[in-house]
């Protein structure tokens, strides 16, 4: 179990670094899927199989599918790699590295072992629908608001001049949808 954790953690870090360095958008998203799968394995080794399954289903499944659909809809494949020159962000990078080193040092001062055994779906569900039931209701309201908001934002308003993207399939579809509504 311990070896599984470290291998999955190394894969997660490596894949995440590749996400932010690839200039091809689709390649970056594929590495992000790999990173999310690795984090799912980490969850499993930490004794949280329910969250590991949700990570694969919701993050690597639903959310990444949204990303891939957006990339296909917007027809962007390879634009804007590292636009800011290296000399501009070498300073922030060094400062962030120092902060991260401090954080790792601070965390590493104590050595706590994790509790043995796993917390299964039953315990999580009992907590979720027991003391946290108000949070579940609020999450459902949040998701509904996001759904309505996304539809409102993405719909083409009638009076807006469709600038420069008349031939786009997404544009014409959204425009027809907004026009007839």
């Amino acid at each position: 179990m311990t070896a599984l954790f470290y291998v999955a953690a190394a894969i997660a870090i490596l894949a995440t670094v590749l996400v932010i360095t690839r200039s091809n958008l689709v390649h970056a998203l594929l590495y992000l899927v790999v990173s999310l799968f690795a984090v799912a394995v980490v969850f499993y080794t930490l004794g949280a199989p329910f969250v590991a399954a949700l990570e694969v289903i919701v993050y690597a499944g639903a959310i990444m599918m949204l990303f891939v659909f957006a990339v296909m809809l917007l027809n962007v494949s390879a634009d804007s790699p590292l636009r800011v020159p290296l000399s501009a962000w070498i300073g922030p990078l060094v400062l962030i590295a120092v902060l991260l080193a401090e954080l790792i040092y601070g965390i590493g001062l104590s050595n706590h072992a994790l509790a043995a055994g796993e917390v299964g779906p039953q315990q999580v569900s009992e907590a979720l629908f027991g003391p946290y039931v108000l949070g579940v209701e609020l999450a459902s309201v949040l998701l509904l608001a996001a759904l309505i908001g996304a539809r409102h934002i993405a719909a083409q308003p009638d009076e807006a001049p469709a600038g420069g993207a008349e031939g786009d399939a997404a544009d014409s579809g959204a425009g027809a949808e907004g026009g007839e509504a």
């Binding site: 870090i13 932010i20 930490l46 949204l66 999580v124 907590a127 934002i153």
Partner: protein, 102 residues
């Protein structure tokens, strides 16, 4: 079973968060910026799960579920914004959105 120490899990979460943050600072593509926010939210959720596993309590996993719902809502609105961004500005470069105009 789980002989992983709490510190290593938290360090993994910190590293993933910082990598996502560096990506958010350095990349100017809107889709990549949204993906970096996803990485950071995922790292925060990982910290919750690790802390919950420290005491064998389900609270950390419950918090991860809330983070998951928030990330899904955020990415739905963010990608809708990306569609509007592309329609009005023609590209997905965040530097293009430097003036406030309807």
């Amino acid at each position: 079973m789980a002989a992983v120490s709490l510190d290593h899990g938290l360090i993994l979460a910190a590293i993933l968060f910082v990598v996502g943050f560096v990506g958010l600072l350095t990349r100017r593509n809107l889709i990549v910026a949204l993906a970096c926010i996803e990485i950071m939210l995922n790292a925060a959720g990982l910290a919750f799960v690790v802390a919950g596993a420290r005491w064998g309590s389900p609270d950390g996993q419950v918090m991860f579920l809330f983070v998951l719902a928030m990330a899904a809502a955020e990415v739905a609105v963010g990608l809708a914004l990306a569609i509007r961004f592309r329609q009005s500005l023609g590209r997905l470069d965040l530097d293009d959105a430097d003036e406030m105009k309807g």
